[in-house]
């Protein structure tokens, strides 16, 4: 294996156009080879390590769905005792991060382990068949938040994990998107070189779960940022810095109408009221993070 060129190898079993697969490749460009990756159960774990094959050119460990942060705590503690200097980096899904793994993450961050926790956020439990998570956006149709005669899909907005982890005292918290590769790589580099627990949440569109063609992944990822539904920023010691500015924010409709998970907002007839609520979320983001470039 040519370890210098690609640390996350092709030949894995992800869907063509999988956002998380591209995110993994970019994340490892940021961490470099002196890294130990801790995974959670989910799509990435399954598509990248079907025994006896592995896509990982760095040491990689998976234990359970919800304990990556605790496993990473133990690894970091062991490395410290041994005088070793590898970066310890969790790469976990949003279900593992926002929902079932919160206890372990909170503990690890409060204890101050020198780890970087990266959530690849594809906004639902994809591995088990597209069920909602705490990261699923408002009104998205998933198999456990189905749109129906008296439902417009997921009832709650995304949980604010970056704020939760910043409140734990993490000195570096950032959001990124696989559709902005250089920005993502730079943020990963910065996180692994910042002592203590750090968090990056990477927007990673899932063509299968969101319902779009695998050739459109980058475009969808960019639309999320261009509409203000996803904001790329850094938080240094709890203060927001370096927000990616957007000139002429696009209406959220442009993002929603190209994904099957929002199709119920357009058919059989357009649901102006719900679309307006989603536009309000984007407008709120723009205000809170000063996204608009005038």
């Amino acid at each position: 294996m040519d370890r210098e060129s690609e640390l996350f190898q092709c030949g894995h079993r992800a869907c063509g156009g999988c956002g998380p697969a591209l995110a993994a490749k970019l994340i490892l460009k940021g961490t470099g080879p002196n890294t130990i990756v801790v995974a959670s159960t989910g799509c990435m774990e399954v598509f990248s390590t079907p025994y006896p094959e592995t896509a990982w050119g760095v040491p990689w460990i998976h234990s359970l769905f919800e304990n990556a942060a605790a496993v990473a705590s133990g690894i970091e503690s062991s490395l410290k005792k041994q005088g070793r200097d590898e970066h310890v980096v969790c790469i976990c899904g949003d279900g593992a991060t926002f929902d079932i793994g919160v206890l372990c993450i909170s503990g690890a961050f409060e204890r101050g382990h020198d780890i970087t926790y990266i959530c690849y956020d594809n906004e639902a439990y994809m591995n088990t068949g597209i069920q909602r998570s705490g990261a699923t956006p408002y009104d998205a149709n998933t198999t456990t938040s189905p749109a129906g005669k008296c439902s417009t899909g997921n009832k709650r907005p995304k949980k604010d994990m970056p704020a939760i982890l910043a409140a734990h005292g993490a000195s570096y918290v950032a959001t990124a998107s696989m559709a902005y590769p250089n920005d993502l790589i730079r943020k990963v580099q910065r996180a692994v070189n910042t002592p203590g627990p750090n968090y990056i949440q990477v927007h990673a569109p899932c063509c299968t779960g969101w319902g779009f063609d695998g050739s459109q992944t980058m475009k969808i990822g960019r639309l999320a940022v261009e509409t203000g539904l996803w904001v790329n920023f850094e938080m240094i010691d709890g203060e927001v810095e370096h927000v990616r500015k957007v000139a002429n924010r696009k209406p959220v409709e442009e993002y929603l109408e190209v994904q099957k998970r929002f199709r119920h907002l357009f058919r059989p007839k357009k649901n102006e009221e719900e679309i307006a609520k989603i536009q309000a979320i984007a407008d709120h983001n723009a205000g809170a993070f000063a996204v608009d470039r005038n």
Partner: protein
């Protein structure tokens, strides 16, 4: 050196001498004194370990798994509800072949909430792929830790081990314990030499996902390792005996079994009381003996069959019950004796800390003699 110590402190002294690099544990009665003592040892630089003050038992064992996979000798301790919270991680540690050693201060499972001793907690995890050793007294609890690490880390085994000792009855009791010196333990237990670790210089994937094409072979390998652990335990136990004068070569141990007609079978601290009761019965001419099971996993079926060859009745004292069936120890002893014609009777005793005295043991032996068994012993019928 002989010292009079509380059981928990004797165990902490043993753990210190095993030199774990990483300790991760969460307090729960009656395990607390062990981890408090270890935390003090770390704080006083008597023990050069990283003590991870985790937020739950689930993270305690997960952190041990990570540290072990990175190449460190690790330690944890828990009981009852804490062990139940670790359930998922327990299977994982064994499947990933990490030689974690964990003390179990045996305690009942709720509901109803009960902090006192029985062995339901560890017994309920018998299928997780961990070795399980049960101590009769605090000397044995101490010694089994050195042995457990050495067996677990043996490259023919590479499996995690629980050292089980009865909550309160042993954890909170002061007894004289002969504690070996650090140098003596160093000579007996060399530093951990892992086989495959997380190392950036030699990248490897651990804990991958296995399809039906491969999964069964992984399980088979664990089972084969368990089988090999029988001999490794016997060898290590014998070596311990030669070095320290206390022989642990037996996965079981007989007491006055030679010409016994009735054999009591038990695990843990109850064995001490049983021995005293047997001495009394022997004086009265009753041919009664004890078979103590030291290793419940791997289960010593052959040794049990050999040890009980001459007896006509076996009375098993189970401090647990597989509800809807019987006590777990009786079931397995029955399996070991299948085809021999020996009658195996089960007695569920001392659950949730219910006291069991010499006269109760004698009563059980009397019941067994009459062929009355497979029942709870010592129920308070007036509250039922």
């Amino acid at each position: 050196m002989m010292e009079i110590l509380e059981g928990s402190h004797a165990v902490a002294e043993a753990v210190k001498r095993c030199r774990p690099e990483v300790i991760a544990a969460y307090p729960i009665t009656p395990q607390t004194h062990i981890v408090e003592a270890l935390a003090s040892m770390v704080a006083d630089c008597e023990l050069d370990a990283d003590y991870i003050c985790v937020e739950s038992e689930f993270s305690a064992l997960s952190a041990c798994l990570g540290a072990s996979a990175a190449g460190s000798r690790v330690y944890s301790a828990t009981t009852s509800q804490g062990l139940a919270l670790m359930f998922e991680v327990c299977f994982n540690v064994a499947g990933m072949r990490q030689p974690v050693v964990m003390t179990i201060a045996n305690r009942a499972m709720g509901a109803p909430l009960n902090i006192w001793n029985d062995q339901q907690d560890s017994i309920s995890l018998r299928d997780a792929g961990w070795m399980q050793f049960y101590a009769e007294d605090n000397q044995e609890a101490n010694d089994l830790h050195y042995i457990a690490y050495k067996v677990a880390e043996d490259h023919d085994v590479l499996l995690p081990a629980m050292v089980c000792f009865d909550g309160f009855i042993l954890t909170h009791t002061y007894e004289p314990v002969d504690i070996p010196t650090l140098e003596e333990v160093d000579a007996f237990l060399p530093p951990y030499k892992p086989v495959n670790i997380l190392d950036a210089k030699n990248p490897m994937s651990l804990g991958m996902y296995a399809t039906p094409d491969y999964y069964m072979e992984f399980r088979y390998e664990v089972e084969e390792a368990m089988k090999r652990a029988r001999k490794v335990f016997a060898d290590v136990g014998a070596e311990f005996g030669e070095t320290f004068g206390r022989d642990y070569s037996g996965l079981v141990e007989g007491y006055r079994l030679e010409d016994a007609e009735i054999a009591l079978v038990a695990m843990g601290s109850i064995c001490g009381t049983v021995k005293d009761a047997i001495d009394e019965m022997r004086e009265e001419g009753k041919k009664v003996g004890l078979l103590k099971i030291r290793s419940f996993r791997p289960f010593p079926s052959e040794e049990i069959k050999a040890a009980l060859a001459g007896v006509s009745k076996v009375a098993v004292l189970d401090k647990n019950i597989s509800l809807g069936q019987k006590g777990a120890v009786a079931l397995e002893v029955k399996d070991a004796l299948y085809g021999t014609g020996t009658e195996v009777l089960d007695y569920i005793v001392a659950l949730g800390g219910r006291d069991i005295r010499k006269r109760d043991i004698r009563a059980v032996a009397d019941l067994a003699e009459k062929g009355i068994g497979d029942q709870f012993y010592g129920l308070r019928t007036e509250v039922l």
